[in-house]
Amino acid sequence: MKNSTLVAFAAILAIALFIAGCITPSPPAENRVSLIQARGTGPMPTLLGTGQIDAYIAWQPTPEVAPLAGIGKVLLYSGDLPPEGKWKNHPCCVLSARQDTIAEQPDLVNAISALTILSTRYVTEHPDESAEIVADWLAGKGNFTYGNVSVSSVDVLKQAFPTVKFVNEPTGPWINGNIEFVHALRELGVLTGSLANTTDEETIAILFDTGPYYQAKAMIESGTIITPPSSGKEIGIGYLNSDHDAALFVAVKNWQYFNDNYGIALKPVDRTTSKPEKAELIVNGQKIANVRLVPGDAGPQLMQLASTNAIQMAYVGNPPVIAAADKGTPIKIVLAINTEGSGVVVSKESPATDWKSFVDWAKARSAAGKPLVIAAPGKGSIQDVMIRYSLEESDLSIIEE
Amino acid sequence: MTLTIRNITKDFLVPGDQSICALSEITFSVADEEFVSVLGPSGCGKTTLLRIIAGLEYATSGSIEINGEIISGRSPRMAMIFQEYSLYPWRTVRDNVTFGLEVGGMHKSQAREVAQTYLHLVGLDDFADRYPHELSGGMRQRVTVARALAIKPQILLMDEPFGALDAQTRNRLQEELLEIWEKTKKTIIFVTHSVDEAVYLADRLIVLTSRPARVCEVIPIHLARPRDRTGQEFARVRRQVLDLIAQPKCSLQ
């Protein structure tokens, strides 16, 4: 072919492709919102304050930060997301443990479960004191600075506490709530392994081992914690830097109380630091094991550590456990540590005051060609699942970033 | 003590530039306290020969003998003086001189005392604590001589030691070298490409051709010392040497 013929051919091809691109039908412009995934909740207030997002959904205390820092308002708490009543008491964080740890060291797992239950009870009975303990653990009781505004971490936590429900019992409805998450994660395409096609009964068998909860409950009622055999090995317990893990923080900081009243304690080795890394599990006066408290950035990271047996138990959200179990990690959900405890925040200038007006706002912005940008803390997280459901339920279609 | 170089041959298996350094059946002897100069064109034949004697390289065949005993590799009875870059810049002048003594196991403080005497011999007592970079080229070569003498060798092997210096310094150092030689009574093999230098310094000239290097002439120099570079006698001997070198058998390829 001559050069000029080649060039003409290429030009015609290019024009044809261009026209094809232009006449490909695009999705309807109405009712669209943009959903982006932030890495955790940390960047969210900054994103809202700089106008890069219009709203976010996050676990406490990040929602409470917005009104206190003057950058936004809490639209509603997660339990109130539509449809009405669906998300009440939705599952959130759990205590999980490796299957082999439960099998080989049942008394130890029962003891930790019992301490968690006792500590959760304490948190519900002493919310202000517990909020302070959480503020100490997370921020050394210092201030949070957002922009020019400084707020006391103690105030933030105290304001956040009432919105978190600290409960442990793996009730029927609670287990069903978890199953609903499994369905939602399947729809998102996150589950491709052992949980991809299971029936609900099979899912429950794979995911849960609530034996330790009931044994712990029985021990508490009988008044004696069974002393586990001393373990030479160090036990790793993972946790997240969130007030959802209040039970753990209170158990460690108030170890003396639990030791004196119930004969079980997680006694921190260094009692001067805000975030102890090492503790000793003491039951009925005997040291049972050295415990390493391992903070994680996010649930999936903790599950990764659990899969290599670097940690044996973890306080995490349920989606990471579900995803890990799906991949074959021998991890089980033992009991709940909280339900609800998340919130939706909108910018200061937003006209929304409740979900209905929020939807109206979204539609108006979409029609104006500037769809709302909403941030969730990670694909497949509880917050992500809930907001997607609620948005779609309200006839809004999601543009993924 | 007699040093005998017997049939030293060095082949280079890899063809190319290296064959310039080849040696062929080099044989000569050096008597005790003799000052011998190995004279040859610029190139590496004579340096290769010296390095073989010093034990830094190996000959393909032939041997080096002292009093009939074959020596292989380095001998403690010899010390070598290089043309340049041989002083250790991180050591003071004195500590450069002590190097060979330290290696021989002498204690540092004792070695320093010994070094001082040799620095005195070469006239550098006051520079003992200086570093090589503070010294001129001529002074550095004096340090090199002191360092070699410190280990009390019987034979000094000198590879064009004054080649990098200017004419004035070179002449002065040649005179100083003769003084030291007379005082210390060493045997010296002095490699050079300068006929003037060889005639001024040596008792005998071993003249080498190149590619491969062979001994083409052995010329005794019958001039009394101290020799006068500008004198007639000197010029006559020089003329003689140049004529001998100009012969076909010594012709340089």
Partner: protein
């Protein structure tokens, strides 16, 4: 530093920052330095650092980890580098492998480090070791190769054995280049401390502080952490430079 010129730009930047912050007037885009300065002015207080301990405590922890990783890297890299510089055979055997591993950034080793060394000091120190290792190794090889052949031959003719040559010639001759390798290596391992301390299993350190502050959106703490990291980096680099002036000035003068 004798002249004030090097300080000019930093001062200008600080002033420029404050002016820009005032004009932009959005503290999330450009936070005013008034939120960062108090943290820096109280380095011994633990009230400003979200319960991770004081800035000084965190700096000490990070320095300890980096020093450990750096020392281990030097302990392995220097002898290996001397071996590779002296022995063409060893160089040939190892060279391709080293060139393959060298471009991999230390951060990329994090998942493997976690899998091999579990949680704790070892995995953190490993990342730092990787960071320091290659500059030290390559500079050591280079330093050994740049040693003048005459220096070694002088030693041989004076009766030195291999151990003498190694201790009295090679180490001294290569020392300036090795020192440069150590300086560069330390700089890189100090940079790695942020990545290394993002490994789980620690609640202290400047790198950890930055990550933790990020998770809580505390930009002022992040900036304070960055400033401290920068200052320590400069100070240590100056220490290396001073060592070079004191011990190795002969190298420059040799030319």
């Amino acid at each position: 530093m004798r002249s004030p010129v090097p300080l000019l730009l930093p001062v200008l930047l600080i002033v420029g920052w404050e002016v820009a912050a005032h004009f932009i007037d959005n503290p999330f885009i450009l936070p005013s330095l008034t939120t960062v300065i108090p943290i820096l002015l109280h380095p011994f207080s633990d009230k400003f650092t979200l319960g991770t301990g004081s800035l000084v405590d965190n700096a000490a922890v990070s320095l300890f980890r980096v020093a450990l990783g750096f020392a281990l890297a030097a302990l392995i890299a220097i002898p290996l580098g001397i071996g590779m510089g002296r022995s063409a055979l060893l160089n040939n055997i190892l060279d391709a492998t080293i060139e393959l591993l060298r471009p991999i950034p230390p951060l990329a080793w994090v998942p493997l480090a976690l899998a091999w060394f579990k949680i704790g000091l070892v995995s953190i120190v490993f990342i730092i070791l990787i960071g320091a290792f290659f500059p030290i190794l390559l500079n050591t090889i280079d330093g050994v190769k740049s040693i003048k052949r005459t220096w070694v031959e002088v030693a041989l003719t004076l009766g030195a054995r291999e151990s003498d040559i190694l201790g009295k010639v090679i180490l001294h001759g290569a020392a300036p280049t090795i020192w440069t390798g150590l300086r560069v290596g330390f700089g890189i391992s100090w940079m790695c401390v942020v990545a290394a301390e993002w490994l789980p299993g620690t609640t202290r350190g400047l790198g950890y502080l930055i990550l933790y502050a990020y998770n809580f959106g505390q930009t002022n703490v992040i900036i304070a952490g960055m400033v401290i990291i920068g200052i320590i980096g400069i100070v240590i680099d100056q220490v290396f430079k001073a060592g070079e002036r004191r011990w190795f000035s002969w190298r420059a003068l040799e030319r």
